[in-house]
């Protein structure tokens, strides 16, 4: 019998099936808890906003904060078997390739969240709005649309190509960093990941600060629009965009090698 040792879509599906069977009780519960707390926070926010001035912009800002916080937390729980030796053994010996397990983790953690969470949010926001409107017909700002909400925040509604790349990569980074941390660290990955990035950022600023001081670069501040050597804002955004792509790819590589070289 010939076994595909690189990538089998069938086995990827088996991984999903396995996950669903194992969590068939947990998923509905988690979904209910998440939806419940979102609806409660909508009601609460609208109540303290005096029922009146709640708007699409509020919906979107709430969305962004929930998206960021829950997203980071959810990504940080990637590679759940790595939290214990016994689970790691079962996971590593499960007859699926590293690439299938890796793709499964990305799909079930990052992609699923980025795709499903906004849909769920949209449904819940409109559902809650409609119910609210039914009981308080005088409230008219109950319909939620992402487009209107974001347009309220981003005034001109236009993004430069590299600014868009930078934004998208920044969003992805939020997920990929804890994802890689969850692959790399066995115990309390989120804390360790945050700590690691804090240390990296601090060292960077310290380095830039010292560089600034020692070279006596008057007026060339590392923070702000005039990053060292690049006075042109467009170039800076482009370079930062490219930098983020590289950072994200490196983080994915770290996650991949963590899985591939994992021992238990």
């Amino acid at each position: 019998m010939q076994t595909n040792n690189s990538f089998s879509f069938h086995r990827l599906m088996l991984l999903f099936k396995q996950k669903l069977i194992i969590n068939k009780r947990r998923y509905p519960l988690a979904l209910a808890a998440f939806s419940g707390s979102l609806i409660i926070s909508f009601v609460f926010a609208q109540t303290i906003n005096n029922f009146g001035n709640w708007s699409n912009m509020h919906y979107v800002t709430t969305f962004i904060s929930v998206f960021v916080i829950v997203g980071i937390a959810y990504s940080a729980f990637s590679f759940p078997p790595f939290r214990s030796k016994e689970k790691s053994m079962v996971y590593l010996m499960l007859p699926a390739t590293n690439s299938e397990k890796f793709v499964f983790e990305i799909l079930s953690r990052i992609v699923a969240f980025i795709v499903l969470m906004p849909i769920l949010y949209w449904i819940l926001a409109n559902l809650e709005g409609a119910v609210f409107h039914y009981y308080f017909p005088e409230l008219t700002n109950y319909k939620f649309s992402f487009r209107d909400g974001f347009l309220a925040i981003v005034k001109d509604g236009k993004f430069e190509f590299w600014a868009l790349i930078l934004t998208l990569q920044g969003i992805l980074f939020m997920f990929i960093a804890p994802f890689a941390g969850a692959g790399y660290f066995s115990k309390s990955p989120l804390v360790k990941t945050l700590l690691t990035f804090s240390i990296i950022m601090l060292s960077y600023f310290l380095f830039a600060f010292l560089l600034d001081k020692s070279l006596n670069l008057e007026g060339l501040h590392p923070v702000g629009k005039n990053l060292i050597f690049f006075k042109d804002g467009q170039t800076v955004i482009k370079l930062m965009g490219i930098g983020m792509v590289i950072v994200n790819l490196s983080l994915l590589a770290i996650a991949w090698f963590s899985l591939k070289e994992k021992e238990a």
Binding site: K17, I21, I22, K24, M93
Partner: protein, 270 residues
Amino acid sequence: MIQIKDLHFAYPRQEVLFSNLSVRLEAGSITGLLGKNGAGKTSLLKLLTGLLHPISGELSVMDHQPRKREVSLLNDVFMVPEEFFFPSISIRDYVKAYTPFYPRFDHELLDRILIEFELGNERKLQRLSHGQKKKFLIAFAMATRCRLLVLDEPTNGLDIPSKALFRKILAGSLDEDQLVVISTHQVKDVENLIDKIIILDNGEVIFHQTIQEISQKVAFISGTSEEREAAIYSEAVPGGYRLMVPNGYEETEVDIELLFNAITNGHKIG
């Protein structure tokens, strides 16, 4: 089936465990892997299943390097570890979630063993006792029909009748193309089950013979202090001595404990 040559392995920041380990194992055997605490039995089993990576040397299992964890090897190797984890689902759901990964999985055999072990399909795995969980895992391992089965202390935690059942199940449901490696301290539990003994000591395989070879070379008898003179190795027991003597006449049952002590104390049986 298994070829190990000059295997070198150490855990990070720890002293070397295996320096020049070499051994060859073929299918069609139930091999007992013996060794003192810390001799590296579990580590060797984990190296075979790709859970640990060798530092250097040759390690091949069914023509695969286990560290690559290729599916064609993973779906042909099953390990029952000493400590394990189960999700909180029923046996039926566990079977649904895990069996599709094993192309030769034998559901009929699983059901038969579960009945013998008195484990119903609806039982929740998390609510089973440690011994029951272990029995389920053994049943699952047998039913995968993997060519390499690795059992780490399989009888630990099994009750008295289950130990006998374990032997019967193993003896009766293996094919000739399968190899079972059992690591254990409970030699009585596997006494007539294993047909080959490997002893691991000081990072090396210091003994590797079949039960038949052993029993043709040496006999294990009880005797007096005079007979002790002719023995290769002896131990005092109530009422006399247990002796390992060169076999001159009829084959005796192999006293694995005595053999183990003899070998690890530096005696040779040729």
